[in-house]
């Protein structure tokens, strides 16, 4: 089974809304289903080894946080049946249920978003947005951001080392470190503005501001089309929103 970006995006939206509606035990089942789907459906497998590792690390981190949050809620909140635990503490049923409900909801949302962003690279999303008729400036901003995200940590580390070498207070008390933060930020922004001017000239020379659409790898971007799968997920999402609104009115 192959899904395109639009179908995956609408499925993610549906899963997020579903997580808000379902009780915690169904959300837990949904997380398991998503994890099984990750290894069986080729379209939602992580796009690279790095993304696979990141998915594993993040899902592990979120699971630990959810377990901790459930326990802390159980320990601090009061109400319902109280269970005694070693050390003189007691865990409340209401707190535990609240923690489980919130935690499982978060886990579904986190897993579905991680699956989407793990299996779809940002350039692919940009390509999809362009074919869906988004303004070329927005798509270009997204792609330029990726360049800056990649190069910024190296630049920061270079400026950090240079400022430390000339005696900037990067390891002193908190006030001095705040000053050190500014000493790193200032050259970073200045160099970014100079680079922005260079890049804007390059874009201008390519006729960017005439509003002509860019293409990827020499291919002409095909106009976006709505598939039946996307439509089905969007309709289901609409019903989920209606359900949530109805629930709010009933409360």
């Amino acid at each position: 089974m192959r899904f395109d970006v639009g179908e995956k995006l609408s499925a993610t939206l549906f899963l997020i809304l579903l997580a808000i509606i379902l009780p915690w035990y169904l959300n837990a089942a949904l997380v398991l289903c998503l994890l099984i789907a990750r290894s069986t459906v080729p379209s939602i497998r992580p796009a690279s080894q790095v993304l696979r590792r990141r998915f594993r690390q993040l899902s592990g981190y979120f699971t630990i946080v959810v377990v901790l949050m459930t326990l802390v809620n159980g320990l601090l909140m009061e109400g319902g049946t109280q269970w005694e635990v070693p050390g003189g503490f007691s865990i409340s049923r209401v707190g535990l249920e609240f923690g489980l409900r919130t935690g499982m909801r978060l886990l579904v949302i986190a897993t579905s978003l991680l699956l989407f962003f793990g299996s779809t690279t940002i350039p692919r999303i940009a390509q999809f947005l362009q074919s869906a008729g988004w303004p070329v400036q927005l798509v270009m901003t997204l792609l330029l951001t990726l360049h800056f995200v990649e190069t910024l940590p190296d630049r920061v580390s270079m400026i950090f080392t240079a400022q430390e070498a000339r005696g900037a207070p990067v390891r002193a008390n908190m006030f001095a470190r705040t000053k050190g933060f500014f000493l790193i930020l200032s050259p970073l922004v200045l160099s970014a503005i100079v680079e922005s001017i260079d890049r804007s000239m390059a874009l201008e020379l390519r006729g960017f501001h005439r509003g002509t659409k860019l293409t990827f790898d020499g291919e002409t971007a095909a106009p976006g089309r709505m598939t039946i799968v996307s439509l089905a997920f969007l309709v289901l999402s609409f019903f989920c929103i209606l359900w949530i609104i109805l629930q709010w009115f009933q409360q």
């Binding site: 919130t102 978003l113 330029l144």
Partner: protein, 210 residues
């Protein structure tokens, strides 16, 4: 003559504006890491948004904020996506203040930061409370649980948690942006639509005069 949002946006990102907005989105995502590298207890996750709002304008700041949150959730914190409305508030409010000259007078900058912090806390509380029941997979979750355990409602607890951290964080962000803009020479400021929103540093301009 009034301009449409699209026209205003295109004016804001004309020239060096567009690559600078892209840099500021990346800055939003990495400023927090830089702060933690210096062991500073601040987020600074809206530093880029505020910088764009002052130097370019509100519409590009809104775009920078929303894109930061989308990319932030793609790079590891899925919860960030749902806080895009907060970034919209930050971008729009800072752009509004910058247009009215609040970044030209030093004494108005911290006041603007505190106001922004309170607004951010008000905007984020309903999202955090109703969508995530106060749990945002961060260290501040402990504060929410504490406020709940002393008898506040969920919405109140989340709001108090926001109020205890956001005004300080936003004030520091505002002061940093003011100092950054003040240290820019006029010939660079003139490249941006909001170049007139910040004070002129005459000594610096004489040094960098063409």
């Amino acid at each position: 003559m009034t301009k449409t949002i699209r026209e205003q946006f295109q004016l804001e990102i004309a020239g060096a504006g567009l690559p600078f907005v892209a840099f500021c989105i990346a800055l939003n995502l990495t400023a927090g890491q830089l702060a933690s590298a210096l062991k500073l207890p601040i987020y600074l996750d809206s530093l880029g948004t505020v910088l764009v709002a002052v130097l370019c304008g509100p519409w590009s700041a809104i775009m920078a904020g929303v894109f930061s949150n989308i990319l932030g959730s793609a790079f590891g914190n899925p919860v960030m996506l749902f806080f895009s409305p907060v970034m919209i508030v930050i971008g729009a409010f800072t752009g509004f203040l910058a247009k009215r000259g609040w970044f030209r007078k030093w004494y108005l900058v911290p006041i603007g930061g505190v106001l922004q912090g309170v607004l951010a806390a008000i905007a984020s509380a309903p999202i955090a409370a109703y969508l995530f029941s106060g749990v945002m997979l961060a260290g501040t979750d402990v504060l929410v649980i504490y406020f709940r355990s002393v008898g506040n409602t969920l919405l109140q607890s989340v709001f108090f948690q926001g109020l205890s951290s956001d005004p300080v964080d936003k004030t520091i962000t505002y002061i940093l942006v003011y100092l950054l803009c003040r240290s820019l020479p006029l010939r660079l400021l003139q490249r941006f639509r909001g170049g007139n929103n910040v004070p002129r540093n005459e000594a610096l301009n004489r040094t960098y005069a063409l």
